[in-house]
């Protein structure tokens, strides 16, 4: 008795081999690499590869391997010093069209990688880096949707020659003011045909007739979702420009975005790039408008008063020719004629069409470039946080249209090459759909990260060693078996976490340590049962059998309750608590397998199938 059938032993063996295979990548450590990726338009082929090799050869910087994927080249280096030097050389040689980023990649052998065996991903608390939680201003997203309707409705009514007094945003939607009910009826009919999603309400006051168009709930939700998605996309683009390897940009909940930048040690620079929300608008200068009257507060209809950087007022038409989101590329450089800093802009086809039409009709007239930047910050008012968003709008350039142009053109009038570079970067990366605010920020230095790993690892190791010592001493052969199965539990746990590509954080390590302590419980339950059975005078083989059988129900019951706790933690927790919960839950499952199946199979191998007079327990 007490023998497992062959298939059961084989199954256990297979599970263990699998466990070792997927756990081992964690032991290999990481190698420093330099990753080169191409920005929009630039190519990354054989020619670039040879160039990179030549650059490094010229600088006498040896690399271990060069791997080329479709969109990036990865160079492995022996140490971080070589890596840093290589980065400097490559940035200089390759120029602005390429992103040269530092990273650490697992040193796992190729054949293991092919089996998808990879180490766990280390959380920022273990590797250092910056973490941001950002809140998207949803009111602004809705306001923007309404703004769009304002201009849509204006052009719709203008095109259909329906007369209106004004169209503007009001509380609850877009408010159109008419002189007569006929005009309003015509507009109502036209609008409901063109934009069926808008809810229309009419009212009258002071001899004027109003029509209020409001967004349906679904449309409001869509606007919010769209804003969030576009913000995620924009942030991703901007972070790519920062040259961070393996960033995490995720949406969290209905209005938040998590950004994690491993290895970044300069949060100020990161914030500058992430938080900047800038866009451009091209408008015609209203040459006929009365500037003095506008300054006195009587702006002509269809125009708006702006200021240039030096403070000079300028009247611009309300109609926008092209907005920033129609810009598909922007690069900084110097204006060939004047030598002053310039940004070269490329428009999408729709923008190009609009630009062509406008410039064709307006040769000899001035056109302005308006730079719009949203800055937001939180102020404390009476103990409660109040968010303020300030929009800076300034005219950066007014130039006479000399010739018609469409897809490509340049903007001049910038103060410095740095400003030109920043503007180009912002334009390339696109504008945020709605302002964001950083509501949580964590920076962990690399030395603290390394220290956290070391301490977490050491405490787990010491705890494990203490258990092995005690168990082997107290339960002798059975204690050794329990230790082996406990070790396999650890291996399986790490293997599963690695397979799931879970992020290992410090609380996760704590979870592993705690699981070790709790996992031994099942074996203690079993062994105590075996001892009891022996005391009752049962034969050793019968005692082993009864011990495992009877303890099983208890093990199941007690572990399920812990699983309930772990699962609730996972559902409701965030960040570190969640990391801990994942480890706890998986650890309980693996420990049930190892403490019952593996330890039983070992006991069977040692004692099974022969006559015993006594047990070493």
């Amino acid at each position: 008795m007490n023998r497992y059938p062959l298939w059961k032993n084989l199954l256990i063996l297979a599970v263990m081999i699998f466990g070792f295979l997927y756990a081992i990548p964690n032991l290999y450590g990481e190698v420093p690499v330099v990753q080169i990726s191409a920005l929009r338009g630039a190519s990354l082929g054989e020619a670039e590869k040879t160039r990179i090799e030549q650059v490094l050869k010229g600088a006498n910087l040896g690399f271990l391997a060069l791997e080329q994927e479709s969109d990036r080249i990865t160079l492995r280096f022996a140490d971080t010093e070589l890596q840093l030097k290589a980065q400097d050389q490559l940035i200089e040689a390759l120029g602005e069209d390429y992103v040269v980023a530092l990273n650490l990649v697992p040193a796992t052998p190729k054949w293991m990688e092919d089996l998808n065996a990879a180490p766990m991903y280390l959380g920022l608390d273990l590797r250092g880096g910056v973490h941001f939680l950002m809140q998207v201003d949803m009111d602004a997203a809705v306001a923007q949707a309404e703004e769009r309707y304002v201009s849509d409705l204006r052009s719709l009514l203008r095109d259909d020659k329906i007369r209106y007094l004004s169209i503007s945003r009001a509380s609850g939607g877009v408010e159109a003011k008419f002189r007569s009910t006929e005009d309003r009826a015509a507009a109502q009919e036209r609008i409901s045909r063109e934009f069926p999603a808008l809810l229309l309400n009419d009212s009258e006051a002071d001899g004027a007739y109003y029509l209020v168009a409001s967004l349906s709930d679904k449309e409001v939700l869509d606007a919010k979702n769209l804003a969030l998605q576009q913000n995620v996309l924009t942030l991703r683009n901007r972070i790519n420009e920062l040259g961070v390897a393996e960033p995490v940009i995720q949406r969290q909940g209905s209005d938040r975005i998590v950004v994690q930048l491993p290895g970044v040690q300069d949060p100020a620079r990161a914030k500058e790039i992430l938080g900047a929300t800038a866009t451009l608008e091209f408008r015609m200068v209203d040459a006929n408008g009365d500037l003095t009257a506008a300054l006195a507060g009587k702006t002509p209809i269809g125009s708006r008063l702006y200021r240039e950087r030096n403070g000079n007022p300028v009247l611009l038409e309300r109609r926008i020719i092209v907005t920033g989101d129609q810009i598909i590329d922007a690069a900084s450089g110097l204006d060939q004629q004047s030598g002053s800093p310039a940004v070269y802009v490329t428009l999408d086809s729709k923008g190009a069409r609009q630009m062509l039409q406008t410039t064709k009709e307006n040769i000899g007239k001035p056109m302005a470039v308006v730079f719009i930047e949203n800055k937001s910050h939180t102020r404390m008012v009476d103990g409660a946080p109040v968010k303020e968003t300030k929009t800076v709008e300034e005219v950066i350039n007014v130039a006479t249209i000399r010739d018609q142009f469409s897809k490509r053109f340049q903007i001049t009038g910038l103060d410095s090459p740095t400003e030109a570079r920043n503007l180009a970067l912002l334009l390339r990366a696109g504008a945020l759909a709605a302002p964001i605010e950083i509501i949580e920020e964590r920076t962990v230095g690399p030395s603290l990260g390394a220290q956290n790993i070391e301490r977490g690892f050491n405490s787990t190791l010491i705890g494990f060693a203490a258990i092995v010592l005690f168990m082997s001493f107290y339960y002798r052969v059975f204690g050794v078996i329990a230790s082996v199965s406990l070790f396999s539990n650890l291996v399986l746990l790490v293997a599963i976490l690695s397979m799931l590509q879970a992020t290992l954080t410090l609380p996760g390590i704590a979870g592993i340590a705690l699981t070790i302590g709790m996992a031994i419980d099942a074996n203690v339950l079993i062994f105590e049962r075996v001892r009891e059975e022996l005391r009752l005078g049962n034969s050793p083989q019968a005692a082993i059998h009864a011990g495992y059988e009877r303890a099983w129900g208890t093990i199941l019951d007690s572990n399920v309750t812990t699983l309930i706790a772990g699962f609730s933690l996972f559902l409701l927790g965030s960040g570190p608590v969640r990391g801990f919960a994942v480890v706890l839950c998986i650890g309980i499952l693996t420990s049930m397998f190892s403490a019952v199946m593996i330890s039983r199979s070992l006991v069977n191998l040692v004692y099974g199938g022969r006559k015993l007079s006594r047990l070493a327990i």
């Binding site: 809140q135 949060p267 100020a268 914030k271 939180t378 102020r379 404390m380 946080p385 950083i438 509501i439 949580e440 920020e441 964590r442 962990v444 230095g445 030395s447 603290l448 220290q451 956290n452 301490r455 050491n458 010491i462 705890g463 005690f470 001493f473 107290y474 002798r476 410090l506 704590a510 340590a513 705690l514 302590g517 709790m518 031994i520 419980d521 203690v524 339950l525 105590e528 009891e532 005391r535 129900g553 208890t554 019951d557 007690s558 399920v560 309750t561 812990t562 699983l563 309930i564 706790a565 699962f567 609730s568 933690l569 559902l571 409701l572 927790g573 965030s574 570190p576 608590v577 801990f580």
Partner: protein
């Protein structure tokens, strides 16, 4: 080798009344501490800014304080963190500055005074995030309790579920009481620890309940208190050994895990100690007083509907 070879059952239930009084006193003291002193919540819950820095030599805390005060940062806590070189600075959210600026400025102020200062960690949490964490933490606690009660009621009986959950909450409240009384910092990790104790301590109760049920079924004539005494006695060696093991690991975390794991391990340490006590001397007597009997443990359904583990 055996530590526990107890031949005669220990009459735990005879002392049940006095141990319950002890528990009640501890429980009330913990609640009183929570009510009067509250918890020393970390910035994860309250919102605020924490900057952790390291100096090349032992840091002069007084100097750091005065430098920050010159920079118009009042209401700042500056303390050593682990070693004499490591310093933890806590700041409130500022009236007119964005949190990002604050951490930047603080570092610059410190650098001016001693350029050897190295930034280890900056943490900023906005007030709304903290409130959410606070709420979801409370919700998690409720959900865990509800889930455990439901499971116990299903697997055992409502009396065990009630007894188990009371014992459990007893542990949790006492841990919180400790944190409140000593004003130890209550972080997110500590919350995780407390919730882990919930699972862990009920685990304990389940093992004992399981035995009680088994003995009820096996020894049909034994009176209820003796049954419980017997179950506690035979499971005692397992209880002590398992807890010793877990405690070994947790203590290793406490001593070698560094500051970040310290309070987490501390919560677990207290939780484990009270977990043993409460499952033996709180849960079992309560179940007894609630009227647990052989009848309400044996399935009323037909025999064999629930496969009986004991032959």
């Amino acid at each position: 080798m055996e530590f526990f070879h107890i031949r005669k059952d220990i009459p735990f239930m005879k002392y049940a009344r006095s141990t319950t009084v002890v528990s009640a006193i501890l429980f009330i003291a913990a609640v009183a501490a929570l009510a009067t002193r509250g918890l020393n919540l970390s910035i994860e819950f309250t919102g605020g800014i924490v900057v952790e820095v390291r100096y090349a030599q032992a840091a002069n805390l007084q100097q750091i304080r005065s430098v920050l005060e010159e920079g118009d940062y009042r209401d700042v806590t500056v303390q050593n963190y682990g070693t004499a070189q490591d310093v933890l600075i806590r700041l409130r959210l500022q009236q007119d500055k964005s949190s990002a600026q604050v951490s930047q400025e603080v570092l610059e102020l410190l650098k001016r005074q001693d350029s050897s200062v190295e930034l280890l960690r900056v943490e900023f949490v906005g007030p709304q995030v903290g409130q959410e964490l606070y709420d979801s933490g409370g919700l998690a606690l409720l959900l865990v309790c509800a889930g455990i009660m439901l499971y116990l009621a299903m697997r055992f009986e409502w009396r065990f579920a009630v007894a188990g959950i009371i014992a459990n909450l007893h542990d949790v409240v006492i841990i919180l009481g400790f944190f409140s009384f000593f004003q130890w910092e209550f972080t997110l990790a500590v919350l995780a620890g407390v919730l882990a104790v919930l699972g862990y301590s009920v685990n304990e109760s389940v093992v004992i309940f399981d035995r009680i049920r088994e003995i009820f079924r096996k020894k049909r004539k034994m009176p209820v208190p003796e049954t419980i005494d017997h179950a506690l006695t035979v499971t005692m060696s397992r209880t002590v050994i398992t807890h010793t093991m877990t405690e070994l690991v947790v203590l290793s975390m406490l001593f070698f895990g560094g500051e970040v794991l310290f309070y987490f391990a501390l919560a677990l340490t207290i939780g484990i100690v009270f977990g043993i006590y409460s499952s033996m001397l709180v849960a079992s007597p309560i179940a007894m007083w609630l009227g647990v009997s052989r009848e309400n443990l044996l399935p009323v359904k037909k025999e064999g509907a629930e496969a009986d583990a004991t032959p």
